[in-house]
Symmetry: C2
Subunit: 83 residues, 2 copies
Amino acid sequence: MARKIYNRIAVLRAEAGMSRKALAEKVGVNPQTIGFLERGDYNPSLELALNVAAVFKLPVELLFSFRPFPSMAETLLGQGDQA
Amino acid sequence: MARKIYNRIAVLRAEAGMSRKALAEKVGVNPQTIGFLERGDYNPSLELALNVAAVFKLPVELLFSFRPFPSMAETLLGQGDQA
DNA sequence: TCTTTTCGTTGCGTATACACAATATCTATG
DNA sequence: CATAGATATTGTGTATACGCAACGAAAAGA
């Protein structure tokens, strides 16, 4: 347990022009909690992960992963070894 | 927080002819933990949910849901209002 | 029948995912 | 400059997702 899980919350939230407070209200947590998740301080519960995935209309696996996500640049260059 | 999350672990495990102990070893938890999840005593962490989904090769959303899953009979009859 | 496996339950301990409050920094805008 | 919004950080408290041990019941297999 306590294995680190990476996420794309910060990128998606920035792209959507959404503040932490706004996202926090949508998923029903404190704004600081969003900050903790984006910084990787701890992992979200399954409940919170499902709620965040629903907000961005993405499957959980595309938002949370045991392996770090490729950067935007890497993704654009098509070098991502991960879907 | 603490919203109940339903899952299909028991059904999938039975279909695979897998004991709780066997599943527990694959995902790295105690056998009792699997029992707690199947009974709905508490929700799994995101880490555990990702691991269980990987074992059954299913996306997280098809294994865990805020709404109860239709029974096998309902699914066979094609009356499921849920994917 | 005897033994083994599987499962349910209870209890106790620990780590962590939160809530909430306070403060500081930085930026943008009036 | 002054104010407001967004973010980082720290601290305290609580609920819960676990681990682990023990015991009993039920089912399966020899």
